[in-house]
């Protein structure tokens, strides 16, 4: 019995030697299909002022507090965010009101006509969406250049870098009274939050299950016409874009009055839309 045991030990050692002498090689596969469409991809991000629990009602027919054209070059992996003032005069009407009358499909078509840019998809969020997405990300790291204090929006932020929870992020994007430029400054902060959140997502997502959870977080908090089959490839594309390769530009304009006497902004788009039409996306 003792001899048998010894033989087993020796055999085990020899097998071990054989195995250790035969090293293994690790080969990796990372397959992530790109979005089906080559070149330019355009999405209209719409922030509705209606939606439970803050303002019960149909968010698809609220007023558009935030309107941003996001253009992505899927080939170069660069992006541009164009902040469009909510009070922009479009066909003689205030842009924000058009969502109420038209709904997101026709609203997007009207913006596309106004900009002269094909818009592939729209994605609409509410106040609650912003809170839930930011909380789902574990907060978003932002840099605030000047102190913000506004009782109406609830903003109360010192200048400098800080991490915002969901309710704070909502206050950050709603404040137009203590930011430079008023409504233009608020619109810029919408774009800033998108860029900061994008950077946060890139840091949070390191594997396929996390990517799936992130897509689900956005799906729960967005109404969109993006096909479900495109969500994962689009999310993957977004992760491939370096934060430094995102350009944010704000349309400027002059204040005036529309046909009904409502205050509007007569937009001077400069070359913002021309660049997108020419495929010049990113910094």
């Amino acid at each position: 019995m003792r001899r048998l045991a010894l033989a087993v030990v020796v055999a085990g050692c020899l097998l071990g030697l054989a195995a250790s002498a035969f090293a293994t090689a690790a080969l990796r596969a990372s397959v992530h299909p790109a979005h089906a469409q080559d070149g330019l991809l355009t999405i209209l991000a719409i922030g509705s002022d209606i939606g439970p629990p803050h303002r019960p009602g149909d968010p698809l027919h609220g007023r558009a507090d935030g309107v941003h054209l996001i253009a992505v070059d899927a080939t170069t992996r660069r992006a541009t965010i164009v902040n469009i003032p909510r009070d922009a005069s479009v066909g003689g009407q205030k842009l924000s009101d058009l969502l109420y009358y038209l709904g997101p499909d026709a609203f997007t078509a009207r913006v596309a006509e106004f900009a002269g840019v094909r818009i592939d998809y729209w994605a609409l969020m509410t106040f609650r969406s912003i809170e839930d997405v930011v909380d789902g990300l574990g907060g978003v790291d932002v840099h605030i250049p000047q102190p913000m204090h506004d009782a109406f929006s609830g903003s109360k932020f010192p200048a400098g870098p800080q991490r915002l929870a969901g309710h704070q992020a909502l206050a950050y994007v709603r404040d137009r009274k203590s930011v430079a430029g008023g409504d233009f400054g608020r619109s810029a902060n919408h774009g800033n939050l998108m860029r900061f959140a994008h950077a946060q997502v890139r840091g949070n997502v390191t594997n396929l299950p996390e990517l799936g959870r992130m897509v689900a977080l956005f799906a729960r908090n967005t109404v969109t016409n993006i096909p479900r089959s495109e969500l994962l490839p689009l999310a993957r594309l977004a992760l491939m874009i370096e934060p430094g390769d995102v350009r944010q530009t704000a349309l400027q304009g002059t204040f005036g009055f529309g046909p009904g006497g409502a205050s509007v902004v007569h937009v001077q788009p400069g070359d913002a839309f021309d660049r997108i039409r020419a495929g010049q996306v990113g910094p």
Binding site: T24, A29, L208, A216, L232
Partner: protein, 190 residues
């Protein structure tokens, strides 16, 4: 939300040999946990939500597990197809096939290796299902499959395929649309 674990019934692998020592026996891929991740946006619309369907999730996981199990057996066990291109082509969606590089295919086990036989070990997975009511959007399986690979010459070595795959329901059936995996093989593989 977790659903009861399920286990794949091992299927006979066409062309596989049974030498009575485990060689050629198919993987018995077990799904140890199922996590449902909801995608219902009813909360922001203020309408009644659609509860996630455990039955739909279980059926989708079963289909994805079958697809992964079939791939592992075809790629690593079946003498007729192992380490060839066919199992990779069968696994991937059309757009993933178009994207996969030679290195990706090698990572999926499409390698030129003088294999005498393979002996399967434990294989298990955890599933995450993206679900809206009964509509399944995707199933991601994070898995480990252990085996022993014996090269021509008689030297055996432990090997492993592990990582994650996201399966989607496509016109071709359940196919892997995104893959992040590693295969550890005896040195000598390219």
């Amino acid at each position: 939300m977790a659903v009861a674990a399920c286990q794949a019934a091992p299927e006979a692998s066409p062309g596989a040999s049974d030498r009575g020592d485990g060689a050629g026996a198919p993987f018995d891929l077990t799904v140890e946990d199922i996590v449902i991740v909801g995608m219902d946006n009813a909360g922001i619309l203020g309408v009644a939500g659609t509860p996630p369907s455990d039955a739909a999730a279980a059926a989708a996981v079963s289909a994805a597990r079958d697809a992964l199990g079939a791939f592992l057996n075809a790629q690593l066990v079946d003498e007729a197809t192992r380490f060839s291109a066919a199992p990779v082509d069968q696994l991937l969606s059309a757009r993933a096939r178009a994207t996969a590089s030679e290195n990706d295919r090698a990572g999926l086990g499409q390698v030129d290796l003088p294999v005498a036989r393979t002996i399967t070990g434990p294989a298990s997975a955890v599933a995450e299902v993206l679900l809206h009511g009964e509509e399944v959007h995707a199933v991601t399986l994070s898995f480990n499959a252990l085996l022993t690979v014996e090269l021509a010459g008689g030297t055996a070595s432990a090997a492993k395929q592990s990582g994650a795959m996201t399966f989607l329901p496509t016109e071709e059936g359940w196919r892997a649309d995104a893959v992040e995996v590693t295969i550890e093989l005896p040195e000598g593989a390219p």
